[in-house]
Symmetry: C2
C-alpha cells in the first residue's frame, strides 16, 4: 500500500450531520415526511428544506407529494443511488476507523 498522497474522499453531501441523520432515518424507516423530520431534528423549515434540496440534487432522495385528508403531505424516500451512497459512506468509515483507509 502506497502511503504517499492518500486522499480523504468522504462524501460531503452525506457527511453533514443533519443530512446524515435524515439519510439514516430514511434508510431505516423507508419513508419520512417533512413535519416528522422537522420535529425529529429541531430544524427551521427553511433549513430542512434546503438540506433536502441538497439531497435531491445529489439524487439521493426522492420526493413524493400527496394529499392526506385534503392537506398537502410531502414524503421522502431514498433512491437506489442514495441507498448505495449511504452504505458506501459507512463502509468508508469502517475503513477509517481501522485506519486502513483512504484512497491510494
Amino acid at each position: 500500500m502506497n502511503k504517499v498522497g492518500r486522499v480523504i474522499q468522504i462524501d460531503r453531501v452525506i457527511h453533514e450531520p443533519v443530512r446524515l441523520a435524515i439519510m439514516s432515518s430514511l434508510y431505516e424507516k423507508e419513508f419520512a415526511d417533512f413535519n416528522g423530520l422537522l420535529e425529529e431534528f429541531s430544524l427551521t423549515r427553511g433549513n430542512l428544506a434546503s438540506h433536502i434540496k441538497r439531497l435531491e440534487q445529489a439524487k439521493y432522495v426522492e420526493v413524493i407529494k400527496t394529499f392526506k385528508d385534503r392537506i398537502p403531505h410531502t414524503t421522502y424516500a431514498l433512491t437506489n443511488k442514495g441507498r448505495k451512497a449511504y452504505e458506501n459512506y459507512w463502509h468508508l468509515f469502517d475503513e477509517i476507523r481501522q485506519n486502513i483507509v483512504l484512497g491510494g
Copy 2:
C-alpha cells in the same frame, strides 16, 4: 423516548475529514510527526498546521518538540481528552448508524 427536539450533537472538531484522519492516525500509532502527516494526507503545510492548531485548541492533541540530528522535529500525540473524545465520537456514530440517536 421523547422524539421531540432531538439534537445532532456531533463533535465538529473531529468530524472534519482531515482532522478525523489525523486523530485516527494518532489513535493507532500513538505518535506522528508533521512531515509524516503532510505526506500521508497530501496537504499543504499551512493547511495541516491550521488543522493541528484546531486540535490543540480543543486540547485533543499535544505537541512534542524535540531535535533529531540538530533538526527541529515536532511530534504530536493525543491527550487523554482527545482519546476520550475520539472514542465518544465513534460511539455516537454507532448510535446514529443504528438510528437510536441523538440526544433527547
